[in-house]
């Protein structure tokens, strides 16, 4: 599978037909996926998710608090699985075994729901993915019947490997998780998008609305984010901004941007002047 330079050059210069976002056979209207971590409380979580328009929301799987009060609200009470696609993630896993166990517990928790976000981290400081372990975990999970959306770095060759082995979506990072640094290597994201036949979603590193728009202008099928919304001064408003940014970026991608020029080009006719 090779991608010629001339094909890559065409990006951003030609209008394209729209294609729906389909993940594991399910079509989604919203191309913004949101995490549910780092919010002040469950009410803020719910309001931010609603404002984002997201249909897919990620959750973490953790031990119950022993002796938890029975009336304490539960995340799945405010985000009912019949209204949202719940995407359990393996956040915080540093080994194949931990990631696989987490996915199996999540499937049991969600009555057999088998769509998961796989991430196997390799380093506590950067939170960059451990690719050899992620490949190994993905293989085990796919064999076990899971539909795997995989968090990876922005390496086009690795992205292709994940697609070939049967991951239902490949999700390269824009920048380290929670860093808000934006898309640090747009060229690689573009290569990944160009070569892929499964949805490509930028996952992690988005800081503000323009970052999300850039991801979509590059041709990504969607964007997954958590901290950019949850840690904004006003998370509800940022969720609404992200919704618009993802839609605007998608429209711009479909429209096909103008060619860049080195010098100015007048917008008004140069003929017919009376001065």
């Amino acid at each position: 599978m090779t991608t010629s330079i001339s094909k890559v050059k065409e990006i951003g210069e030609r209008a394209r037909p729209d294609k729906p976002l389909i993940v594991a056979g399910v079509e989604y209207r919203s191309r913004l996926l949101v995490g549910t971590g780092k919010y002040k409380d469950l009410d803020e979580t719910r309001r931010a998710v609603e404002a984002s328009g997201a249909q897919i929301v990620t959750v973490a799987i953790r031990r119950t608090n022993i002796g938890q009060s029975p009336g304490e609200p539960n995340l799945l009470d405010i985000l009912p699985p019949d209204q949202y696609t719940i995407l359990p993630n393996t956040a915080g896993c540093y080994t194949v075994d931990d990631a696989v166990r987490t996915c199996r517990l999540a499937r049991e928790l969600l009555n057999g729901h088998d769509l998961v976000k796989l991430e196997v981290l390799g380093d506590e400081k950067t939170l960059f993915p451990d690719i050899p372990q992620t490949l190994e975990a993905a293989e085990i999970l796919i064999k076990d019947g899971f539909k795997v959306m995989v968090y990876t770095n922005d390496d086009p060759i690795v992205a292709r490997r994940f697609e070939e082995m049967g991951c239902v979506a490949v999700m390269p990072l824009a920048a380290p998780i929670g860093s808000g640094l934006g898309i640090r290597n747009p060229y690689n994201i573009r290569f990944i998008v160009e070569a892929a036949t499964v949805p490509i979603l930028v996952d992690a590193g988005v800081g503000t609305a323009s970052d999300a728009a850039i991801a979509m202008e590059l041709g990504c099928d969607g964007v997954l984010m958590n901290t950019a919304i949850a840690k904004a001064n006003n998370p509800i408003r940022m969720a609404a901004a992200m919704k618009k940014a993802v839609e605007a970026g998608r429209e711009a991608y479909l429209a096909g941007r103008m060619a860049r020029k080195q010098y100015g080009s007048p917008s008004s006719p140069v003929g017919g002047t009376f001065f």
Binding site: G37, K38, I61, R62, R63, T64, L76, P88, R104, T227
Partner: protein, 75 residues
């Protein structure tokens, strides 16, 4: 698995904490004791999932390592 149960005290590791229970005790009874009977949880005993349909008949053994998990906010 249905194992014959000997009455007595059982020590288990529950979510990483040492706990003692009177034997026999099933997974369902354990969840009841924890106040989690009506909650959406998933249970793993010694790294193996115990499906919800088997919580009633799955008897916990001495020294079992048990994890009870829920979905919480996360990216």
């Amino acid at each position: 698995m249905l194992h014959p149960q000997v009455p007595g005290i059982m020590n288990i590791l529950l979510n990483g904490q040492q706990k003692s229970f009177d034997a026999p005790i099933s997974v369902a009874q354990l969840l009841q004791e924890m106040g989690l009977a009506e909650r959406r949880v998933a249970v793993e005993v010694n790294h193996e999932i115990v499906p919800r349909s088997r919580h009633g008949d799955y008897q916990i053994q001495d020294n079992d390592r048990i994890e009870v998990v829920v979905a919480i906010g996360g990216g």
